[in-house]
């Protein structure tokens, strides 16, 4: 077990940021922590990093207690904080050399530059980098000592789509190298495409935990089916199978169903008995976003606005 917490609670004055979080994370893969602002993502990650102390509960990271064995832990843990100011007037290579010197053993700055695709910017001052380049540098710094466990706190917030994709590639390589990566994000599609496991946090509590497939499967949201046939269709057999008609759209009959498998079987029977030929069939399963919206309820509105505005 790479990370284990039990009854983890954090209060800031009268505000409760984490309400007894129990978490078990195995080695390997990318684990996403998804939730709106104020859900407690950063608090959780920073407790795991040893930067904050929990009010109560137990934490173990790589078998160590972040509060009392932080030096040992930091040698094996790579961290990207949500905001990482870097010392001014130093070049990318100088910053990597500086951070490398803090660890017992470290990789060469050149290896990191290659991994995060910054070879061309090695001699550039960090404060002149673009947003995407700076973020890749910050992730590169997190990897300088070849850590087993990497924690990235909203690494892609505020980046343009191209810069975001470049960073996703870096994270995928971390998985291929067998490292465990813990990543917080409020981009749902990022969690869906990048993570092997998604943990949804709402108001300091875990409200969902599983692979993106599992979570979508658990959704109460129904699937939508579009059907186009080469004749006049009597939908009665499908309605009998519990399918709800949603009218027509672009020459397609549109239905909503809670059980897509049963619906497709009923559709087959209907086509055969009415001698119809299928021209087009489309099925839209609920997405992780639907599950997220279902679980977050009213908390999400504020967040959506921010995401569309594209500001962190």
């Amino acid at each position: 077990m790479v990370i284990r917490t039990a009854g983890l609670r954090k209060e800031y004055g009268s505000t409760v940021a984490l309400h007894g979080v129990d978490l078990d994370i195995d080695s390997g893969g990318v684990v996403g922590i998804l939730g709106p602002n104020g859900a407690g993502k950063t608090t959780l990650v920073e407790i795991l990093e040893g930067l904050r102390q929990p009010t109560s509960g137990s934490v173990s990271v790589l078998g160590l207690d972040p509060a009392t064995q932080s030096r040992e832990l930091k040698e094996r843990l790579g961290v990207q904080l949500q905001t990482t100011p870097l010392p001014r007037d130093l070049t990318v290579r100088e910053l990597l050399q500086l951070f490398a010197s803090f660890y017992e053993s470290a990789r060469s700055p050149e290896a990191i530059l290659e991994q995060v695709d910054l070879e061309g910017a090695a001699g550039q001052k960090a404060n002149t980098l673009s947003g995407g380049e700076k973020q890749r540098l910050v992730v590169g710094i997190a990897l300088i000592h070849d850590p087993e466990l990497v924690m990235l706190d909203e690494p892609t917030t505020g980046l343009d789509p191209k810069a975001r994709r470049d960073l996703h590639q870096v994270v995928r390589e971390l998985r291929e190298q067998g490292r465990t990566t813990l990543l917080t994000t409020h981009y749902i599609e990022e969690a869906e495409h990048l993570c092997d496991r998604v943990i949804m946090l709402r108001r300091g509590e875990i409200v969902a935990d599983g692979t993106p497939f599992d979570l979508v499967g658990q959704s109460k949201e129904s699937s939508t089916i579009w059907i186009q046939v080469d004749g006049t269709m009597d939908p009665a057999p499908m309605l009998a199978a519990g399918v709800e008609p949603l009218g027509e759209q672009g020459g397609h009959h549109k239905f909503s169903t809670a059980d897509p498998t049963a619906t497709i079987l009923a559709l087959g029977d209907m086509l055969r008995s009415q001698c119809l030929r299928l021209i087009d069939l489309r099925l839209k399963r609920p997405t992780l976003e639907d599950v997220y919206l279902e679980l977050m309820g009213s908390d999400v509105n504020e967040e959506e606005e921010e995401v569309t505005e594209g500001s962190p």
């Binding site: 990093e49 930067l51 030096r71 930091k74 040698e75 961290v79 904080l81 905001t83 990482t84 100011p85 870097l86 010392p87 001014r88 007037d89 130093l90 100088e94 050399q97 500086l98 951070f99 010197s101 803090f102 660890y103 017992e104």
Partner: protein, 284 residues
């Protein structure tokens, strides 16, 4: 040695920053020269005063380096979150504080060398006593006051309160110590009170070697007080270092630390006559 891992690279990075930033170059090199010319134009026309004021000038350079240079830097690195990022690595507070201290001593040395060189070229100023001993006393002085500057950097809440605190300390340190004005110009009670001000011992030691040509043995009193200042400063840093602005300052620890520092100078002021330091600089 793992407590000091990264000290070399962190010090080097700090020096690179100091020499690449125009603002930092201005404060580290040009500003001390401004003081030199200010002093030169006011005092150096008269040969007697010229000799007397150089120890005061060097003391001011060390004070401004220790209080404006070092303490602002610490507050700024903490407030901007750079220290917080370091906190996520195994680097120790000792390394960070020491690297900042060494950087400050190096930049101060450069400032003083520049002042001395330009002072010699323009005002024909020369040290009467041993040059080697002068350098030694200057280094002891820098090493004594840099920890106090770092300590102020640890207890100043943010960049708004830091200037208030440093100015509050800086002016007594230069005006009450005989650094900016000859002590002989101060009334008798102020001369006695200046014994409570740590920088007066640096002025005294520099005055002793540079003007009177004293040897190390004759400087033992003020130099001892400077060493105590260094010890107290280092001890205070260890107690009150903070990684983040949001970390509360331990009021009790702060109070005890300030009380100990104050007590040190009360004792020094009482013991001072025994070291024959009653002869305030500027009257020799």
């Amino acid at each position: 040695m793992s407590r000091l891992r990264g000290l070399g690279p962190l010090t080097r990075a700090g020096l690179l920053q100091a020499f690449r930033s125009p603002t930092s170059l201005f404060w580290n090199l040009l500003f001390p020269l401004t003081w030199l010319f200010l002093f030169g134009l006011i005092f150096f026309r008269d040969t007697g005063d010229k000799v007397l004021m150089m120890p005061g000038l060097f003391t001011i350079t060390i004070m401004s380096g220790a209080f404006f240079g070092v303490s602002y830097l610490m507050v700024n690195e903490r407030e901007s979150g750079i220290l917080r990022r370091y906190r996520a690595t195994p680097v120790s507070p000792t390394t960070i504080v020491l690297a900042n201290g060494i950087r400050a001593i190096v930049t101060m040395s450069l400032a003083i060398t520049t002042q001395a060189t330009v002072g010699w070229l323009v005002f024909r100023y020369q040290v009467d006593g041993s040059l080697l001993l002068t350098v030694l006393v200057l280094l002891i002085g820098a090493a004594a006051f840099v920890p106090l500057g770092l300590f102020v950097g640890s207890v100043a809440q943010d960049m708004r309160s830091a200037p208030a605190i440093t100015n509050l300390l800086f002016f007594p340190l230069i005006f009450g110590s005989g650094a900016a004005l000859p002590a002989s110009m101060l009334p008798g009670w102020a001369q006695t009170a200046s014994r409570l001000i740590p920088s007066s011992y640096l002025v005294e030691a520099l005055h002793g070697v540079m003007v009177r040509g004293y040897g190390l043995a004759q400087l033992a009193g003020p130099v001892a007080v400077l060493f105590v200042t260094m010890g107290v400063g280092i001890w205070a840093n260890g107690r009150l270092f903070r990684w983040e602005s949001s970390e509360p300052i331990d009021r009790r620890k702060l109070l005890v630390t300030v009380a100990v520092i104050a007590a040190v100078y009360v004792v020094a002021a009482l013991v001072a006559p025994a070291f024959q330091m009653t002869d305030a600089p500027g009257r020799g």
